[in-house]
Amino acid sequence: MTQQNLSLSRRLALMGLGGLVGMPILGAASRARAQAPVPGGTAAGGQVIDITRARTDPIPIALPDFAGGSPAAQQLGQNITRVIANNLRNSGLFRPVERAAYIQTPEAAAAAPRFQDWRVIGAQALVTGRAEPQGDRARIEFRLWEVGSEQQLQGTAYTAAAANWRQIAHVISDVIYERMLGEKGYFDTRIVYIAESGPRDRRVRRLAIMDQDGENHRFLTDGSFQALTPRFHPNARQIAFMSYNNNQPRVYLFNLDSGRQEVLGNFQGMTLSPRFSPDGRNVVLSSARGGDANIYVVDLASRRERQLTSGGGLDVSPCYSPDGSQIVFNSDRGGDQQLYVMDAGGGGARRISFGNGRYATPVWSPRGDLIAFTRISGGRFGIGVMRPDGSGERILSEGWGMEGPSFAPNGRVLTFYRESPARDSRGSGYSARLAMIDIAGFNERQIITPTDATDPSWSPLLSS
């Protein structure tokens, strides 16, 4: 049992992206992520994720720094451990045990955990590891232990370019999350968003991208044109967004490998609010010609467009269900903004939002079970979720201004942006910041960005 998986060494083929972006992401060779079979099915100790448990009962986990045979190796090990601990703490579902309480040294724990030492400080799980730089590469070995049963739940060694140590830490974080909670994590992901700077009437809006923990931040466009509402392709290598390039507001595609961007199609008028289909073959968007806005789908291969809605009213913000069979969107066809679900081929639209207020920016959970939205009611904005049939509405967060939810790939966490009002007629005090919140409505956190930030979109898992 103890050695069951350490032989499953995986080489993560890590390659840099060309051109403008130049950020490391995982290549195809990493798809076979090491997985230890756990007896009895899903999660360690039979824990099943439960939206009520986390608030009161995060899992206490000990994360001694990964051991290393040299100062450089120890530094690498420490860096990786800190990223993992930060991820797990930020999820709200884990509570890293205070390091000062550790009895056993990291080196000794990496060799053989003395479980009594970890039990007495309250750790339910223990992560040990070893970091070994090998030239410009690094070998990172880690083991996840259940302290109570003294069982190893996972043991994996990764070899990768040393520069990509952060991604290794995120992959390990996801393995820990999945082994302990029985569902996939979301740490090896990125967020693309709009970085905003300058006075509000002359705002500079740039595409920007970062890891989900805010690290590896890059600007993707230079601010010479306004960019809005970026959304990831399911392969995480392409982004659809709205650009005011040449003063023509149109949906564009941005290729993260090449750094190139191109207009999606030759629509008349404005195109906006793009989203990829789950199979990545289509972009659904809104096209405003004259006074109306209707929903269209564009086939990426042929660039042929097909109109899905018609008639009066503004139909915007379409988003596919994860099985691709339905589209939820926002329309004021009935008088004010509400949410509607229709067949992916168009037709059969039915209203699903019936609460108090206006509803907007619907996004379908990757799990299929929920639709997140913005609600404007009584002069306040809120982020909420409801089932796809409109039942079970819950508001997760409320305030003066917030909108634009986007799900983590496991459907457990939402990112959105929150605004603070201007205090005076010069706009002082206005701010826009990214936030994350658990779909249970707890653990709201701000994501630190270099500038004001709006329109976050969460990538799929990069290495799955």
């Binding site: 006075p199 509000r200 009437d201 002359r202 705002r203 809006r205 306004q226 809005l228 509402t229 709205m242 003063n247 023509q248 507001p249 008028g269 404005m270 906006l272 609010s273 809104s286 405003a288 004259g290 006074g291 109306d292 806005a293 503004l314 915007v316 913000s317 926002n330 004021d332 004010d336 903004q337 907007a360 920016t361 913005t374 404007i376 002069g379 003066w400 201004g401 909108e403 634009g404 605004e419 009002p421 201007a422 205090r423 005076d424 007629s425 010069r426 706009g427 206005y430 709006t454 329109d455």
Partner: protein, 166 residues
Amino acid sequence: MQTKLLGALAAAALLTACASEDTSGAATGAGAAGGAGGMGGLGAGQIRPGSQEDLVANVGDRVFFDTDSSSVRADQRTTLERQAAWLAQYPQVQVVVEGHADERGTREYNLALGQRRASSARDVLVANGVSSGRLSVISYGKDRPAALGSSADAWAQNRRAVTVVR
């Protein structure tokens, strides 16, 4: 009643904004006037006929809308009629009608709403004899406010369609 008052306030500010450094909400909103043109090399009082400055100073470059509405209000229609007459006077001038929304909506919906407001204003211009070939529309949604505050007054100034000489 409140909105009518605001319209008057904004119109008054139009006349003074260029000459003063007033940073009150109304003056800032009116002074921001649409982007195109700018004062160029012209000093105060030297307004070139048929220019954006001419439109702003002598006609009025913008109309205002009610919350969530894109119907041109009766009290705003005369501004568009004056714009149409002004455009008839300068047949070489082409304009873009910019539609805007206040910050109390979601970005994507407000982009569509701004487009609908610009189209409404454009339709009135066309109905008053302006050739549609001289007009284009663009929406900036809530993303280019004229008034920078977060007050009801600022929102009323930001729900607008602005005619801008190209």
